[in-house]
């Protein structure tokens, strides 16, 4: 059987999700037997050529040239999978979507005119059709191998879409929100991390993004009763997945 051709692409991001591929220390050599990694700039010198069976895309769209590049990559790809909070939700850098870009540039660069960036950072799915999304900041490496293997055998990946609370219950972790009264985003956040923060006795900060049909308003009312201000609540949602939480919140209020 001909090995499917994989391309790994990066837009605006920290490289952490593509590093997840190299962090599959036990599986990577097997993966290389099953797939032809034909483009992966972080790990090989291979130039960009031809079509891909699967393109794995990290990072958000935040410059003009990226808008063009993502269309080119889509046209080269039979399937396109986005990985991580930047690619699925614009990432931390999407916080500029709710601020003024000119003031942002001024804070970082002495000569802001030399810098050209879009005023927004947006997920890949705002620009091209995406076949499958892997959420998380960073993604879970087991979810990535599950997705790749599912592709090979032609099934839908078994990635949870329910909330983090399910994962906490399964791990027998006492509820931080109810027992300790700490503002935990677990009820509105996708499972998939393995209940990491809560196992370290800290509330979830939402790095896997909103679960489908999350009732954000209800949780915010609960936080309000715990004594949090409106500003505190927004600050909790406005992190690596601010774009997605804001979107789900607006949709939920309609």
């Amino acid at each position: 059987m001909k090995r499917p051709r994989i391309g790994v692409f990066k837009f605006t991001s920290c490289d952490g999700c593509q590093l997840t591929i190299l962090n599959m220390e036990d599986e990577i050599l097997d993966i290389l037997e099953l797939f032809d990694i034909a483009y992966f700039r972080e790990a090989t010198d291979k130039p960009l050529r031809g079509q891909f069976d699967i393109s794995i895309v990290e990072g958000s769209i935040s410059t003009d040239w990226q808008k063009e590049d993502i269309v080119d990559i889509r046209e080269r790809s039979r399937h396109l999978i986005t990985i991580g909070a930047c690619a699925t939700s614009g990432g931390l850098q999407a916080l500029r979507n709710w601020a003024s870009l000119s003031s942002y540039k001024k804070h970082v660069y002495p000569s802001p005119d030399m810098i050209t960036a879009l005023s927004t950072s947006t997920p890949i799915s705002d620009h091209v059709y995406v076949d499958y999304e892997l959420w998380g900041c960073p993604i879970n490496k087991d979810a990535l191998s599950e997705t790749l293997i599912s592709f090979l055998i032609g099934k839908r990946p078994g990635i949870p879409r329910y909330s983090l609370c399910m994962e906490c219950k399964r791990h027998g972790i006492p509820c931080i929100l109810v027992s300790n009264g700490e503002p935990c985003l677990g009820p509105i956040t996708k499972a998939g991390c393995g209940a990491l923060c809560t196992s370290f006795e800290r509330p979830c900060y939402g790095c896997f993004g909103p679960k489908d049909d999350a009732n954000i308003e209800s949780l915010m009312r609960y936080f309000h009763n715990l004594g949090l201000t409106q500003k505190d609540c927004i600050s909790l949602l406005d992190k690596m997945n601010s774009y997605a939480y804001r979107k789900v919140r607006i949709e939920g209020s309609k």
Partner: protein
Amino acid sequence: MHTGRCELKAVSKIIKVDYLSRVEGEGGLVIEIKNGRTAKLRVNIFEAPRFFESFLRGRPYSDVMDFTARICGICPVAYQMSSVHAIEKIFCIEVEKPIRELRRLLYCGEWIESHALHIYLLNGPDFFGIESAWAAKEYLPIAKKGLTFKKLGNKILTILGGRSVHPVSVRIGGFYKTPGKKALAALLPELEKAYEESLKEIKWAVGLNFNDNSWDTEYVSLTHQDEYPMNHGSVASNKGLIMPMEKFIESVQEYQVEYSTALHSGIKRDSSVSPYIVGPVSRLNLNHDRLPSEIKNVIRESNISLPVTNTQMGIIARTVELAYAFYEAIRIINGYDEPDKPFVDFEIGAGEAVWITEAPRGILIHRYELDDAGHVKSCTIIPPTSQNFGHMEADIYHFLQNNADKSEDFIKKESEKIIRSYDPCISCSVHVMKIEK
């Protein structure tokens, strides 16, 4: 074969590397040679800017470690360490010894993971003339060894922080939760084996082929009287510079160049700004006398002459530090007793502080100013790679002085190799935007 002089005289060419590969982030290289001399040389950075220093403004102090970690997926711990220490300094927090040691252990995990990635998967293939760590059968055993080391580094990070990329356990005053002695001790057999193996790797690295590109330059790192530096110390250089962290930031001039979205930096002296290098080579040159005698012996037996003056030998310094990180992890775990409380209590207050720690790629400078409520008023983040850009260009410039007449392919490959020997992390360096592509 061409050896003629007239040909050498007439050499004019433009050499372009559109995309640097086997580095983290997005950059390229342009070299223009006119009449056999380097007329223009620049490492282009077109990684898109993310404006961290802007969106951190107004955020509560407790967000800072989670946010800055996202600057880099390869060295998130470095960002957490520089920021947590800076903020603790503002709040006048002194952590207890077990916490200090656990943070050092966390750093050992990151040094191992990051160094192993660079030595075996990114830089190693250069010395074998292959395009990736899996491009040649002969290289696979070497790659596998690297993966075994890397996995162990990630294991330390996972036990201490839940996951290796953007760990979740670091907080102001200590950790959200500390591991039990047993969980850490379980790592010891693997660590001891890896340490023994890694000592041999120093000799392996010394045996690789290096082009000599030595020149008199300035090495900068932290230095500490009792230990090889990670989280504490003063800033020192081989040119007599020695100063506390908060003074060093005043000596660094960050400057913007039109072809890069990463700010460059140099050391201010009188009216000039001169490039300097940070990272494993600098650390080793300035701190080798703090290494344990066993590693010192291997350095002596391997005939590594110190200081290392050829930055292409970064891979040697990295293997020395890989061995040291294993040694240190074993020492810390053996002496560890779980603290009664994972963090100390503190009071929030206004203030400003600078802290510098040793990221795998060199000193990482953070400065924060907080208001009374503990919200960020302003901050400065100077990553190691942006400090190295100026030096990287100077290094290639030196190389070209003797090699401008060589083939384009040779110059291209060797220049890329020089850049890669810094283990540049372009994602980090860019608080940043595409100018040229």
